[in-house]
Every structure is written in C-alpha cells, then in structure tokens.
C-alpha cells in the first residue's frame, strides 16, 4: 500500500469496469475475434456480430485465402502485433455510454445503503448486551425448557429439529431441488472417468491417512448432534468434504464403483422421505408435536431426544450426498 497512486489507479480502473485481465483470462480464438469485433464497432459504429464475421470471411475469400482452414485468430493480411500480456480491455462505445448511468447509479445506491446501515448499526443496542429485543421470551423458553421438552442437550439442534422441524424439512427440500437442477443443467451423457491418483505420492499418502479420521469425525458430529455442538448440517458438510477427498485420493473409478451416482440420489430421496414420514404426523396435527408420544430418554445419553437422532441422520445423509453430487457433476463436465 506504499505506492498509493498506483493502488488508487487500480481501484478506479476496477470501478470503471476497465480492469486488466489476469493471466488466466480466457484466451481462445473465439474471444480474440470478439475483441477485434469490439474494437471494430468502436471505430466504425454498431454492427451485428454475425454480420461482422461474414464480412471478415468475405474479405479473406477476396484475398484468395481458404476461409475454412485459416485460423480465425491469425489473419495473414493483418499480422498480429506482439500484444502485451495484460493489455487493457476495451469496451465498445455504445455499451460504454449505456453502462455509465448504470455504474454511477449502483455506486450511489451502494453508498446510500452503507450510510444508512452504518447509522442503524451505531444506534442498535450494544453488542453483547443482555437486554436486546432479540433475546426475548422465545429464546428464554427454548433455553429454560428445551431440555425437558426435546430431550436434547444441544439447544440449537433441539431448536431446528424439534421446535422448527417443519422449516428444516423445507431446507432439506431446497438442497434436494438444487442438486436436481444442477444435475439437469450439467447432465453429461458420455462421461469418461479417470483414475486420477493425486499429483505426487506425498499428497496422496497424506490424503489416505487423513481420510478415515475426517469421515469418522463427520459421523461423530452427526450422531452426537443432540449432545454436543454439531448435528446433521455440520456433520453432513464434513462428511461431504470427506467423500470429495476420498474421490481425489482413491480415484474416480474406484469411487464410482463404491458409491455410484444412482446410489447417491436414492439415498437422498430415501432420507427426505424418511424425514417426511417421521415428522409427517405433526404436519397434519397443526405442527404441534411436543406431545411426548415418543420417549425422550435421559438427556445426555446417546439414545435420547426422541426423534432427534434419526432426524439428524436423515439430514446428514441429505447434506453429504448433495455436496458429493455437486462435486461429481462439476467434475464430469470438464471431460
């Protein structure tokens, strides 16, 4: 930050949308041609991209070149000057004029929001004070009678899987819907599996030795969700990350043999159905399911808390399978 002017210049460039592209900026021939097109319409006025391409092809044909075999990004009649690695991107004049209003307006809105929010944050009741409105009788009820009503030691788990079990069902359904729509968007018919075994033996061995520990920790967090910090969401996330590590270490073919995609989607659907069946009765009886039909057990024992343990298992399966499904879908797309 010593070189203030240069740094400031970067920020201004960024805000104007004229940021230079980094080394991994897209560099394919289509894009090169598109850049040339942008510069052309900046100089000569607007023109459809298709028309521009047609014109260029005609030009090349007039020069006696074979338009099919010629590389698009290296037209011989216009020898490419050696371009600098980070040349500033140019924006066509038409778009620049339209975007100017938009950019100024959005900066203005953002600044207004920031000022209003800061004023509100400074006038809120102090951080960490006990007489805040958020700490009302709802939280008091959950904390005072949570253990006898839900049988769970962890009040957060008791809250999301007993008092608010209906909402958690909706959230699990959101996860399921996101996984299904991603699968629809990225569906690759002919998927090739590779047996990628890690870049070098050190990383591979380290991953292999870490894998059981991570999976065991994930299972522990899910199963102990009503007794200690954690639960289906946290443990499911850890399990999903562990499965991804397993796929990286063992290779995709091996993982596809152990846990094929079909099994994953079946497990998710079954877990969602099981959740619905277990909590279904309370959805029909006015969502008042604190009656105590199911024995709560002694708080602190592993078999306690009524339905919280099986519900935690269901949520854990849903979250872990969704995370792993995302990974396999994104992986299969690049082949």
């Amino acid at each position: 930050m010593k070189d203030n002017p240069q740094w400031l210049e970067r920020v201004i460039q960024w805000a104007a949308g004229q940021e230079q592209e980094g080394p991994e900026g897209p560099e394919d021939p289509e894009r090169q041609e598109f850049q040339e097109y942008l510069e052309y319409i900046d100089a000569h006025g607007y023109m459809e991209f298709g028309a521009y391409r047609y014109m260029r092809r005609r030009e090349r044909a007039a020069l006696g070149l074979d338009a099919v075999t010629e590389a698009i990004h290296n037209p011989p009649h216009q020898p490419n000057p050696p371009k600098p690695q980070h040349r500033p991107r140019r924006r066509p004049g038409l778009l620049r004029r339209q975007l100017w209003v938009y950019r100024v307006l959005s900066v203005g809105v953002a600044l207004c929001l920031a000022v209003i929010f800061t004023a509100v944050a400074l006038s809120l009741p102090g951080f960490g004070e006990t007489d805040v409105p958020a700490l009302n009788e709802v939280a008091q009820r959950y904390l005072e009678r949570g253990m006898e009503e839900t049988g769970a030691v962890n009040a957060v788990t008791g809250l999301i899987l007993e008092y608010r079990a209906f909402d958690t069902f909706g959230e699990s359904a959101v996860l399921f819907a996101a996984a299904v729509s991603t699968a629809l968007l990225l569906n690759a018919p002919g998927r090739r599996l590779r047996n990628y075994r890690g870049p070098d033996p050190v990383l591979s061995t380290l991953g292999r030795s870490l894998l059981p520990v991570i999976l065991l920790f994930g299972v522990y967090v899910v199963v102990n969700g009503h007794l200690s910090p954690g639960g289906g969401f946290s443990g499911g996330a850890v399990l999903g990350a562990g499965l991804i590590l397993a796929s990286l270490v063992l290779g995709e073919e091996e993982m596809d043999r152990l846990l094929p995609q079909r099994t994953m989607s079946r497990a998710t659907t079954l877990a969602l159905l099981a959740y619905g069946l277990m909590k279904g009765y309370s959805f029909f009886t006015g969502a008042n399911h604190l009656g105590g039909e199911i024995p709560k057990g002694t708080p602190g024992a592993i078999l306690s808390g009524g339905l919280i343990l099986p519900l935690n298992l269901c949520v854990g399966v849903i979250v872990a399978c969704t995370m792993y499904t995302f990974y396999t879908l994104f992986l299969s797309r690049e082949e």
Binding site: A15, G17, P26, E30, F34, E48, F49, G50, R91, L95, L99, S106, V107, A110, L113, A114, F117, T118, A121, L122, L124, G126, F127, G128, E129, T130, V132, A134, L135, V138, A139, Q140, Y142, L143, G146, M147, V153, N154, A155, V156, L159, D167, T168, V174, L175, A178, A179, S181, T182, L185, S228, G231, F233, A237, V319, T322, F326, L329, F330, R333
Partner: protein, 125 residues
C-alpha cells in the same frame, strides 16, 4: 464515536462486507466475481445475525441442569445461520452450473460481452 464503532465492531464489519459484496455484484463484469460478491453478502448477513445472538459472557447453548437461561447465548440466530450456510452453498453450485452453461454458449465469462452477443442474436453453428 470511535468507542461506539469499537462497541459495534461486528455490525460495522457486517455492513462493510455487505457493501463490498453489493458493489462487486453490481459493478464487476466477470460472472465468477459476481458470484463471489453474492457469497460475501451472504456471510455478511450471517455475521450480523450471529452477532445479534451473542451475549456478553454467554457460552454455547449446551444445556445443563440448574443453570440460569441467561448464561447461554441466544440459540435462535444460530439455528437460522446453520441452515443458511448450507443453503448458500447449494445456490452457489446452481449459479456456477448456470455460468458453465453460459460459457459453453458464448465463450465468455464477461457479462457485458454476453449481453452484446445475446442482443445481436448470434447463433453459433
């Protein structure tokens, strides 16, 4: 003034993060950066909620017999944020999938260029 800012440090940080994410979402032309900005806004809201639930000297709500309820932090924001984090990942995955589809069609991650191409009605092959 400085004392007030120090007192409300979590809220102020949440506001700043939210503004950074908001500006990125609206101003950066790259779709991946826009998604990162949206994620920043997500975490800013989570930070605000969790800071709301914190009570000075309170511990995590692992209930014990014979303990006053004021000894714990508020469990309600914790439950909200816990589910929120997981849902945020799934929406991010969905956005990334949509971005990949856009790239397959327009060969660009730059939203301005995509808009030009879409406007000119260019159908590839």
């Amino acid at each position: 003034m400085l004392e007030a800012i120090l007192q409300q440090r979590y809220y102020i940080t949440a506001v700043l993060l939210f503004t950074i994410g908001f500006v990125t979402l609206f101003l950066h032309p790259n779709l991946l950066k826009k998604i990162i900005g949206l994620n920043l806004m997500d975490t800013a809201v989570f930070l605000f909620l969790a800071a709301m639930g914190y009570v000075e000297g309170g511990v995590a709500p692992m209930l014990e017999e014979g303990q006053e309820w004021t000894a714990y932090i508020n469990p309600v924001p914790g439950g909200l944020v816990l589910t929120g984090i997981v849902v945020a990942v799934s929406t991010t995955a969905l956005f990334l999938a949509l971005t990949q589809r856009l790239y397959r069609r327009y060969h660009s991650l730059n939203l301005d260029e995509i808009l030009i191409l879409a406007r000119s009605g260019e159908e590839k092959h």
